[in-house]
Subunit: 493 residues, 2 copies
Amino acid sequence: MAKELDFLTKRSEDYSRWYNELVVKADLAEQSDVRGCMVIKPYGYAIWEKMQRLLDDRFKETGVQNAYFPLLIPKSFLSREAEHVEGFAKECAVVTHYRLKTNETHDGVVVDPAAKLEEELIIRPTSETIIWNTFKNWIHSYRDLPLVVNQWCNVMRWEMRTRLFLRTSEFLWQEGHTAHATREEAEDRAKMMLKVYADFAEQVMAVPVVQGVKSETERFAGALDTYTIEAMMQDGKALQSGTSHFLGQNFGKAFNVTFTDEQNQPQYAWATSWGVSTRLMGALIMTHSDDNGLVLPPRLAPTQVVIVPIYKNDEQLQKVNAAVNPIVEQLRGMGISVKYDNADNRRPGFKFADYELKGVPVRLVLGARDLENGTVEVMRRDTLEKETRQLEGIADYVRTLLDDIQQNIYQKAKAYRDARIYECDNYDDFKARVKNGGFFLCHWDGTAETEAKIKEDTQATIRCVPFGFEQTPGTDMVSGKPAVARVLIARSY
Amino acid sequence: MAKELDFLTKRSEDYSRWYNELVVKADLAEQSDVRGCMVIKPYGYAIWEKMQRLLDDRFKETGVQNAYFPLLIPKSFLSREAEHVEGFAKECAVVTHYRLKTNETHDGVVVDPAAKLEEELIIRPTSETIIWNTFKNWIHSYRDLPLVVNQWCNVMRWEMRTRLFLRTSEFLWQEGHTAHATREEAEDRAKMMLKVYADFAEQVMAVPVVQGVKSETERFAGALDTYTIEAMMQDGKALQSGTSHFLGQNFGKAFNVTFTDEQNQPQYAWATSWGVSTRLMGALIMTHSDDNGLVLPPRLAPTQVVIVPIYKNDEQLQKVNAAVNPIVEQLRGMGISVKYDNADNRRPGFKFADYELKGVPVRLVLGARDLENGTVEVMRRDTLEKETRQLEGIADYVRTLLDDIQQNIYQKAKAYRDARIYECDNYDDFKARVKNGGFFLCHWDGTAETEAKIKEDTQATIRCVPFGFEQTPGTDMVSGKPAVARVLIARSY
């Protein structure tokens, strides 16, 4: 066993390397031959699909409708909203031609210079511009509002340094875009979607998050307010896991989206946008997994239970099969996904290590002696604890155990994180400690200068002004100026 | 009523215009400001989502796993497979740069010439090349096979003439890609997926299809065999609705994907690919809909039942509400999607016309007199027949009615199509009649010359050599040469 598990770098040795290895070895994703773009492998995609489905259900409960908008955006659209273009134009894939032709030596293809576009097209880095250009035709009266639209799609931002799931040039995400008749309604929607993200992260992914609002510097390009959920990874760094933006009337004005209100007066529409991406996969992996591999919350595990038989000969295997089949049926009847791995091409020890690596939440092992005793060995992946149980009633037990694992890994992650949230009032102390990770709650004078100095000195950034935390005024630890509140500061991914 | 329905061009007047108007007026899709790219609106996307979900379930029953591969493909990959590059390189969106910069007058952005890519990237027109380049790393031994992978994604082919859903530069689809150890297994998979498509078209979309195999001329670029399902639209034209390709070892050889077989010998892997796209939306719309608007099969209708109250005052409305609410609950309990439209901003006549336009399969209307009599008016969208039923037991009746509508529209479409399939042995006769639509079963000598002549003379093409049809040898109607079988010839979309 030991040998088979040894191949993954330990978190304590090199956390970053552990992550990179785990993503590849657990068959979640890999680098493609296209710079910065990943291939999401079937096992990784199966987890993403579950996340999509469960998030989408939650969106629809709040009245969201899905739609689809073009991949390509005319270059000029980007320039319409002044801040937006600054934020996104600099890292775009640009389509300039629409045809290739055979080369002169007839052994390859070259770009056909005759097929040059009049206006270049950008692969969407985010779709506010093309969607608000479309909303213009959909919105005329207050009766057309609110418009609450979402799309699941791919987007592209040309990143210089990429890491699987955490930062890739192409990634998958959902982007919600809404239009409202009033400022208040738009602000409420932006906050509502933050809550949807936070609930999803905590209840489904079992990832505890801090909710808050970004500083002006860290806002989305074109937003008046950016709300965020911030998760803590096991190295104490923050991972921004979802954002929801109140965009004011910026895009309404940029794309001339007006409606007549109940008093028959023209008004610009109010906007929000909000998104989560395949980056959530990174949060999921880094929050729970250990030196043996993935630890998956049962609600997202493609296989929730694996059953492995131990046998010496075909006769024994037949007996184990006969005992296991009704259990498989019972579990499936409860809506639990089960794999019975009685293939004979791998030794049990190899199977054990592989399912641990893949993060299957519960493992049942049945051998000849178990059959005699009417027992089964149960292992839970989160704690690696084994116990021997009676076969009788095992399906009900497994169901309860899955719920317990879901709760346990959330509580474990929360305890880990809570132990690393520090109030800090001294900048020297902060500088010494922040490099070791953790969330620091510090008074901030609200200036971009202070923010920039912290970042320059320590690489840490203001992650957000956190919600749900009792605030008292104080003194900025850097400038010594008065500060109305503490902000959350951390190094981040 | 008449007035409200008059706004849609009649099919008999101009079928093509009727389709274009219907897609837009029923809120399914619209042209975007990006040439050839559509916006799929929420109502259209809700239908597509149902199609996706039901197809995906069927895929998974056959062992398909979803994954995701990069949007962009290095230009050189396209040249690896000789036929493939001919088929696809000529209509590709080409990414040449990865950055924009502010222009000299500071009022817009321009392509940054410093950010030119060393090798241009193509937006995938289909993904055989990048996927087989990836498979190379996944396949080593016969134990790694078969590999049965699918992705749901967007693709792009630069089309000169576009029509919503039927032909757009960007479209959504699924593309399955499989690798096998033997020729036979790959051929079986290609045929299996054709059957999945045919069953889906007929049982879910209620669209009857002819299954068959393409002529060499009409094959997918790089395939040894292309299987197809062909549906007949109401104008008698064929719509190719899904294809499944047996690719032989072409991509295995082009990307050097080998495995060691059970005798430890190296072999090239055998391939299939298969796809259906948002084009299916066009097939769905054109097969069933009428001059009043969409007709949707209940299994794909986002709203299966709409209930409209008729009332003169609030007191009456309250009474209708009280009678309707338990019916809504009962129907929802049966898994039926119901909308109770008691909004007071539109007259009932307008609501009726709108739900007919949107193709809601069943409409229930309740007024004050119905309450007195314990009755309800039921209208079925497919035949527009109205009847008055007892309220008692109405939910059970509606459930049965939905099944009946699903069957009826399939039978209706099948009868319509079957009456327009002609055996034809005379080329003059064929030329005179084919312009009026219909599927012609004609003996073909198997030559590309005859095929080209038919196309040139009539714009009609060989859609396929149809399966499930008793073949007898005969004489080619064009060349007079001997022919082993009849092929299906039609004008097409």
